[in-house]
């Protein structure tokens, strides 16, 4: 049965939503997704060029194309251009729909979109001109640009909170906890990162450790998890396995995550207690990570044989697995004995791609494939999603495996005290494989862009509705219940 959003909107539930509201929500979701897609293509094209430069350091070594200027452009645009916009766009849709209401203000959402884009464009230009605040991961932009980003967050928080306040049920669905809290926490992070009074010398090192991990774990993680709690039940047409487990993961994530940032500076001159605290809470993070992952996987139970039939679910499944594996790996990396080998090596680059790409990007894609067709009434093509999924999955696997092995080799070279240059020479094949993985990943993004086109302005494709038939896998659950 072919169902379009137009059919559905007419029958939409809730007292405070009209067809026009649905249309506006769809355009906001579309605009954020299209914007994010642009930044994805741009930032990963830069990333690919950077990977290439490891093998050909003199290639395009001119001033505005030198490695050290493009490297922060790649990371910042991936973070603040692609991932932030993709997640916020889907979060607006989730907030409005799970609250059974319309978006509080379409205008504010547009202002937010312009501010996010303004920050990313200005940041890119500033970094390319050599205005780098000091090679501090993810906060290289000069401070006025980071204030623009902060303004975008404030607008987003206001809009989301006001939307949740309009909800038609008394309960606030868990997705909104993660989404709204994530935006509020990030406002704190961005503010702490900008204020200068406590950022001198070693004091700034303490803030860097805090900032670089909280910007990841209190921004992208809660937003992606918020999308999981909506998109996974939506696609499976089945409620989340345990709401209570989700509540537990929310509060434990809040209590444990902010404390682990110092593990980026183990063995540094930062106070010893600060480093030990970071290690302890890196281990404590296993509680929310395993509780959350188990919850998602148990929601999917009985449907594993069918997950390739639904690419939205396949993306979400990979994202959950990478969340589980990547976060657990993060805990392991925080142990002093292992950090002595892996820190400063390419292993950490592999880890950041396993989490930011395998988890966050796959979560964003899964949410877009699951929800954007519901908003616009246009499905992408099955082939397009298949190409995106397999190229991205194979690409990131090659990338992460190559850098994990290479990083270990690099670390062991240092432990054995061979001349430093030997570790550079030994990395050569792994840098090559990183480039191979990078090419596949970039090609997959072109497929994604094509799919976004078909879900929005272009001709719809042949894929079925993202929502699966609820009877699939039902017998498995019933069997469990009987047993």
């Amino acid at each position: 049965m072919a169902v379009t959003a137009q059919d559905l909107s007419r029958t939409g539930s809730g007292p405070v939503r009209s067809e026009r509201d649905d249309h506006e929500l769809a355009s906001i979701f579309t605009a954020y997704t299209v914007s994010a897609t642009f930044w994805l293509l741009f930032a990963t094209a830069i990333g690919l060029l950077l990977a290439f430069k490891f093998g050909a350091p003199d290639f395009w070594a001119a001033k505005y194309l030198t490695f050290g200027r493009l490297r922060p452009i790649h990371t910042n645009d991936t973070f603040y251009g692609f991932a932030s916009l993709a997640l916020v766009g889907a979060a607006y849709y989730v907030a409005a729909r799970s609250c059974g209401t319309r978006l509080y203000s379409t205008k504010l959402a547009w202002i937010g979109l312009w501010l996010f884009n303004l920050a990313a464009i200005a940041g890119t230009i500033a970094l390319d001109l050599g205005y780098n605040w000091g090679d501090l991961e993810y906060r290289e932009w000069p401070w006025p640009i980071r204030v623009v980003f902060l303004a975008a967050l404030l607008v987003t928080a206001w809009n989301l909170i006001a939307t949740v306040a309009r909800r038609s049920s008394e309960d606030i669905y868990l997705s909104n906890w993660y989404i709204v809290a994530g935006v509020l926490w990030t406002i704190v992070i961005a503010t702490v990162g900008v204020l200068p009074w406590y950022q001198y010398g070693l004091g700034q090192v303490a803030i860097s450790g805090y900032y670089m991990h909280n910007a990841v774990g209190m921004w992208f993680t809660p937003l992606a998890l918020g999308l999981f709690y909506y998109a996974i039940p939506k696609v499976l047409n089945r409620p989340i396995y345990s709401y209570a487990l989700g509540v537990l993961a929310f509060w434990t994530n809040l209590l444990f995550y902010p404390l682990l940032g110092g593990h980026h500076f183990l063995f540094s001159p930062l106070p010893w207690w600060l480093q030990t605290t970071a290690i302890v809470f890196s281990v404590a993070m296993l509680v929310p990570v395993w509780a959350g992952s188990a919850n998602f996987l148990l929601t999917m139970r009985g449907r594993y044989h069918g997950r390739i039939e639904s690419y939205p679910l396949a993306f979400l499944f990979v994202a959950v697995i990478c969340y589980l594996v990547g976060s657990t790996q993060g805990t392991v990396e925080a142990f002093r004995s292992l950090q002595a080998i892996w820190h400063f090596t390419s292993f950490t680059v592999g880890h950041s791609h396993l989490t930011m790409y395998g988890f966050v990007a796959f979560a964003a894609w899964g949410a877009v494939y699951a929800l954007l067709p519901l908003a616009t009434g246009k499905n992408p093509g099955r082939l397009g999603m298949a190409v995106h999924f397999w190229l991205a999955l194979v690409g990131v696997s090659i990338y992460v495996i190559a850098l994990s092995i290479g990083g270990t080799v690099q670390g062991l070279d240092w432990v054995h005290k061979v001349p430093f240059i030997q570790s550079v020479v030994d990395m050569e094949p792994y840098y090559l494989w990183r480039g191979v993985g990078g090419i596949l990943m970039f090609l997959s993004h072109i497929a994604f862009a094509w799919n976004v086109w078909r879900m929005t302005a272009g001709t719809p494709g042949d894929a079925a509705s993202p929502i699966m038939d609820p009877s699939v896998g039902k017998e498995v659950i019933e069997r469990e219940v009987v047993a």
Binding site: L8, G100, S169, Y230, W273, D469
Partner: protein, 72 residues
């Protein structure tokens, strides 16, 4: 080591506050109903269509009507 002299009292205070907040939440029925909110994402029409329910038939299947909530 001096850090511990500050950190232990702070930790104790925080732990007491956390336990207090937890009891407040339980006593104010915050955990009474953890089943109803689960179905919020599935209340939309598109899920009912997939489940073979008509638009007006909001009581069919396992879907609970959106107005269903339990006041403490």
């Amino acid at each position: 080591m001096n850090a511990l002299l500050i950190l232990i009292p702070i930790t104790l205070v925080l732990a007491i506050v956390a336990v207090g907040v937890f009891f407040w939440a339980v006593n104010h029925a915050q955990f009474e109903d953890l089943d109803t909110p689960k179905i919020l994402p599935l209340l939309d029409a598109e899920n009912r269509v997939q489940r073979g329910l008509s638009d007006t038939d909001s009581e069919g299947g396992r879907v609970v009507p959106e107005k269903a909530h339990h006041d403490p």
